[in-house]
Amino acid sequence: MAKVQFIKSADVKPWLAELAKEHRVFAPSYDGEALLFRPFDPEQEIVLDRAATMPPKKTIFPQSEKLVDFTYSKDPENLSRIKIDAKANLPEGSTVVFGSRPCDARGFTMFDRVYLSDKNPDIYYQARRKNTLFITLACRTIENTCFCNWVDSDPCDPTGSDVLAIPVNDGYLLESVSEQGEKLLNSKLLADGSSRRAEAEKICQEIAGSINNTKDLTLAPEKLLAVFDNMEFWEEVSAKCLSCGACTYLCPSCYCFNITDETTGMKGKRLRSWDNCMSAQFTMEASGHNPRPTKAHRLKNRVGHKFSYYPTIHGGVISCCGCGRCIKSCPAGIDIREIVLKAIDFVPAAVEE
């Protein structure tokens, strides 16, 4: 049985301050004009009434991380005999992310299927994932770009979260989702919230009702495969794409990376940094050949991966959480929903006999 607590709006900051004693705490606050998950700072205003510009992706999947530090050392007897000492930098400590949205938290479940496979878990991801807790805030308002309901989710979806916070009249109803989440709900600042459950449920229903009409994407995987070789289709839908990485880097479920080594003198580091399939370099081969030479090929991959290839190998789960950031932040106004629907509706021209 989940633990249900209530916190007054005014107590949110003191509670986070409490949590910050044991964990790194991230909460959304403004940096310039961008609303970002930043280390909790009591001096800074926490902004919870709108979705953040950027999902809390960096908390588990840093923009770049130093996987390994390495040092070369020479044998003084024979300077050309070189020894390499390498040290892995496994992340330590625990993190609490406060104010993520259901779509944000759910995004990491797409990562999990890839990075936490039994055969080959990614130890860096694993270490952070295990120790990062999400206190997710159910949405109270919906934006034009929201479409979580199309991808089997809703504005109060607790998937991937540890605690679900539902905004009620004067505060938040906190429901534990995981065991670890339950442990977070022991503060004196919290009171039993069972009595407010009905109010919260009503709010959730209300919000769910205000979101755009859902679309059935069941056919998306096969329909997208059907247009795989139709480059004319992809050239048309990608015409306005600028090939930048804004959509990918703001996406809560995009998990691709690149690995580079940087050395200075006798020391070096192995970096893992975000990469994106919109970039020509992403598939560039050493020979100079590029299997995805144009933006049409690349956008096809992004849409196809999320709505077809990923679901095909992961039990039908679409690798998109419907947050709409790719739509909102696209400098060219590309709407991924439009592309998927277009593919579903696409009727190949009749072949003349």
Partner: protein, 154 residues
């Protein structure tokens, strides 16, 4: 990299091979004493000096960057320093917007015969940099806001 603590600052020079590098040689041959801070990178022509090298050097933490080429019209490659002059002047005027003091970067012309002038240029520039003191340092990746906080907690 080793900078003599308290004595030297990190000053990098980009010199064209034909005139200024030769001028620095002439100063050496003439035993014209100079401050020891400057490290010279030899390039064929001041036209080869992409202003981005200078930005990169400053970004990497240099305290001062000095560029010297052939006097205008004396370029070994006829036109290199004419291009360099425009590009370096633009850079010189641009740097303050980033918060770098304008005097952290200077460019000038010294011919292969001007050993004495080279001595004066180096001395003057080194003094200028010492007056400014160490350049402001950019927070490294480890200190980026997110990680900064993380470390504080750990």
């Amino acid at each position: 990299m080793p900078v003599l603590k308290g004595k030297e600052l990190r000053i990098v020079g980009f010199l064209c091979n034909w005139c200024s590098y030769g001028g620095a040689d002439t100063a050496g041959v003439g035993r014209f004493n100079q401050p020891t801070d400057l490290r010279i990178i030899r390039v064929p022509c001041s036209g080869r000096i992409d202003p981005l090298f200078i930005m990169k050097t400053l970004m990497n933490g240099a305290d001062g960057v000095l560029v010297s080429g052939c006097h205008p019209r004396d370029c070994h490659y006829a036109e290199g320093n004419f291009y360099a002059r425009r590009r370096l002047e633009v850079l010189h005027r641009f740097l303050p917007i980033l918060g770098f003091e304008p005097g952290r970067f200077e460019y000038t012309w010294v011919s292969a015969s001007e050993g004495q002038r080279w001595q004066q240029v180096v001395t003057r520039f080194t003094e200028q940099i010492h007056k400014l003191g160490p350049a402001p340092k950019i927070a490294g990746p480890e200190a980026s806001a997110t990680l900064r906080q993380m470390e504080a907690v750990l």
